[in-house]
Symmetry: C2
Subunit: 395 residues, 2 copies
C-alpha cells in the first residue's frame, strides 16, 4: 500500500507538472471535451432524418480526429478533410458509374483496379515533402472516402443522397471544432512560433551574458582552472534550441492556415521565422562547442586568460545584450533600431581582442596552456558574426 | 503549351527522383493499394449479414488509417486501434447502462457529462511524453469509440451485437495490414534505425577523413590561406546528422513494436541506438564548429600550421578510420575488436600534438595568426574524445 501510495503521488505530481508547464493544455483538453459533447448531444437528440443516425457518427469522428492543439492545426485538418471528402466523393461516384458500364461481372474487377490505382498513386504522393507538410491528412481522407464510396455498392442516385448527408455532418463537426478552437481561448500556432523563436534568442542571450562571468570568474576564485562543474550547470537552457527545427517547421506550417489575429496579418512572413530559427541554431552549435572547450582537460594559463579577459567578456556580454534587444524587439514587434548598438560594441570588442592577441608577448608562456582560451576566443568571434547575421535577419 | 510541357517534365522528374531515392516508397504505395483492394472487395462481395454492409466500412477505414511505411508503425497502430476499440467499446456499453439508470430525462445529461469528462481526461493524457510516443493513436481511437458507443442511442443488447461486428471488421482490416506489411517486402523500422545510425557514423567519418587533406592541402597549393570554398563544399553530408533526433526517436519507437526479424532479436536494445545517435550528433556539432573556423577571416600562419599539420592530419584521419570501422562493425553486426586500434592511434596523435604545441617556439610568430589553427586543433581534440565515447557506446 505504501508503494501504491507513492506511485499515485508521483503520477499526480507529474499530472500537475504537465498542467502547470502549459495551462493551455488543460484548457485544450476541456475544449475537446466540450466540442465532443456538443456534437454528440446534437447527434443523440435528433435523428432528424433516417440516415442521420448513421451519418451523424461522422460528425463525432470528425471532431475527435480534427481537433488539434493550435488553431492552425484544427483549420488545416478541417479544411483538408472537407475538401478531400468532397472531391473524393465526387470522384468515387464517377468511378462507380464508370465501373457500371462493364456489366455485372466486370464491375467488381473494374472497381478493384480503380481502387488499387488510386490508392497507390495517392499514397505515393504523400512522400512528396510539400504534400506531406500541408496536405498529408487530406490525401489520407481522399483515399478513404474514394474507397468507401466506390465500393459501397449503392446505386448512383442513392449515393448522391448519402454524400450530401455525410458532407453536411462532416461540415457540422468541422465547423464546431473551428468555432470552438478560434473563439474559446485560442492557441495560435503563429503566436507560438513567434514566441518560440524570440525565446530561443533569449536563451542564447542569457548563456552569453552569463558566460564571461562564469568562465573568467571561477578561475580567479579557486585558481584551479577547473570550471567545468560551474560552467556546465549555469545555463543548459540553450540545449533545447539544438533540436528545435521540427517543432518550428510544423508551427510555421500550421501558422499558414490561420486567419489574421492579434498583431499578425493574414500573410505574415512565417518563413522568415524559420530563417531566424536556423541562424539561432547555428549560434547554438557554436555555444555547444564552447561548452565542450570549457570542459577540456587542458588547463588554460591564468596569465594569458587575463590578457584576453576584458575583450572576451565584453564580446560575450555585448552579444548577449544584442540578442536580448532583438528578442525584446521581436516580442513587442517594434522595429529594432536598425543600428543595434550592442552589435557594434561587440564588433569593437572583437577588434580589441585582435589587438590584444597581436600585442601579446608569448615568450615565457607554455603554448599548450594558451590553446583552450584561444579557442574560446576564436569561437566567440564566430558567435559575434552569427549574432550580426541574426540581427540582420530580424530587421 | 511549352510552359505546360516543361512543368509536366519537371513534375515527372521529381516523381522519378522520389521513387529512385528510396524504391521502397513505390513498393509501399502498391502494398497500400493491394491491402485496400483486398479489403474493399471482401466488403463489396459479401454483405454476409445485414449489418456487415455498414460495419464493413470500418475495415476499409482501418486499412487506410493504419497502414504505415514501416512494419513497426503498422503494428503499433493496428494494436493500438484494436485494444482501444475493445476497451472503449466495453466502457461505452457500461456508460450507456449507467446513464440508463437516470431515466429518460436524465440519460442525455448523464451521457453528456460522461463524454465530456472522459474526452477531457483522455485528451490531457496525450500530453504525457510517454503516452504521446507510444499510445497517441490508441487514445484517439479510445475517445472516438467511447463517444460513438455511448451516444449511439442503441439498447445495450443491440450494442453487443454491433460491437462484435465492428470489432471483427477492424480485426480483419488490421490483420490484412499486418500480414501484408510483414510478408510483402517488409520495411523494418529497426533495420532502418540501425542503418541510419551506422550511416551517420560513416558521414562523420568521411568528413574527418577528408578534412585533414582539404584544410592543409589547399593552403600549400595556393598559399592564399583561403580554404573556405574548398573546405565548405567537400563534405556537407554531415549536416543532416544535426537534425536527426526526431526521426531516430520515432524509428526507435516503432522498432519496439516489431517482432524479431533478420539479425535482430525481439528485445533488441533499441534505446542504445538513440544513445549512439546522440553522441554522433554531439560530434556533428563539433564538426560544425570546425567548419565555422575554416571560414574564419583571420588568416592562419603557414609556418604554425605546418608545425601541427602532421599530428592534426593524423588525428582526424584516425578518427575517421575509427568511425568507419565502428560503422562497418555495426553494419555487419560483428563485435568491433574491443580495442579499436584507430582510437588508440588518434589518442597517440593527440599526445603528439600536445608535445608539438609545448615545443613550439613562438618568438617570431604573429599570435593572431595562430589562433584559427589552434582552435581547429583543440576542437579536433574534443572530437577524439567524442569518438572514444562513441566507440565505447558501440561496444
Amino acid at each position: 500500500p505504501d508503494m501504491l501510495k507513492a506511485k499515485v503521488i508521483s503520477i499526480a505530481t507529474s499530472i500537475m507538472k504537465i498542467g502547470q508547464d502549459d495551462p493551455r493544455r488543460l484548457i485544450h483538453s476541456m475544449k475537446v471535451g466540450l466540442a465532443l459533447t456538443v456534437v454528440s448531444l446534437l447527434y443523440y437528440a435528433r435523428p432528424l432524418y433516417d440516415g442521420f443516425g448513421v451519418s451523424g457518427m461522422w460528425a463525432v469522428l470528425t471532431v475527435v480526429v480534427v481537433f488539434e492543439f493550435t488553431v492552425g492545426g484544427t483549420l488545416s485538418k478541417s479544411l483538408n478533410r472537407g475538401f478531400a471528402t468532397f472531391s473524393a466523393g465526387a470522384l468515387g461516384i464517377g468511378a462507380d458509374y464508370f465501373a457500371g458500364l462493364f456489366g455485372k461481372q466486370g464491375e467488381p474487377i473494374a472497381l478493384g483496379i480503380l481502387v488499387f490505382l488510386l490508392a497507390t498513386a495517392a499514397t505515393f504522393s504523400r512522400f512528396f515533402p510539400r504534400i506531406k507538410a500541408r496536405y498529408d491528412y487530406g490525401v489520407l481522407i481522399f483515399i478513404l472516402t474514394f474507397s468507401l464510396v466506390a465500393v459501397s455498392g449503392y446505386r448512383v442516385d442513392e449515393l448522391v443522397v448519402l454524400a450530401h448527408q455525410r458532407l453536411s455532418t462532416i461540415i457540422m463537426g468541422g465547423a464546431t471544432c473551428m468555432l470552438i478552437s478560434i473563439f474559446v481561448c485560442p492557441v495560435w500556432a503563429g503566436e507560438d512560433l513567434h514566441r518560440a523563436v524570440a525565446s530561443n534568442l533569449e536563451k542564447l542571450a542569457s548563456y552569453l551574458e552569463g558566460f564571461g562571468g562564469a568562465y573568467f570568474q571561477s578561475h580567479e576564485d579557486d585558481g584551479s582552472g577547473v570550471v567545468s562543474k560551474d560552467g556546465k550547470s549555469f545555463h543548459q537552457a540553450y540545449k533545447s534550441i539544438l533540436n528545435s527545427k521540427n517543432s518550428e517547421e510544423s508551427l510555421a506550417n500550421f501558422a499558414r492556415w490561420e486567419p489574421g489575429h492579434g498583431r499578425f496579418r493574414l500573410r505574415h512572413p512565417w518563413k522568415h521565422y524559420l530563417k531566424i530559427g536556423a541562424l539561432a541554431r547555428q549560434c547554438g552549435y557554436q555555444i555547444e562547442a564552447i561548452n565542450g572547450c570549457i570542459d577540456s582537460d587542458i588547463q588554460a594559463s591564468q596569465e594569458f586568460k587575463s590578457k584576453i579577459e576584458g575583450s572576451c567578456k565584453r564580446m560575450s556580454a555585448e552579444c548577449g545584450k544584442a540578442l536580448k534587444a532583438l528578442s525584446t524587439a521581436m516580442k513587442t514587434m517594434t522595429d529594432p533600431s536598425s543600428d543595434n548598438p550592442h552589435v557594434e560594441n561587440s564588433k569593437a570588442a572583437m577588434k580589441d581582442l585582435k589587438f590584444a592577441l597581436k600585442a601579446a608577448s608569448l615568450e615565457d608562456e607554455d603554448f599548450l596552456a594558451i590553446v583552450p582560451a584561444a579557442t574560446i576566443a576564436s569561437i566567440l568571434v564566430e558567435i559575434v558574426k552569427s549574432v550580426e547575421k541574426i540581427s540582420e535577419a530580424v530587421n
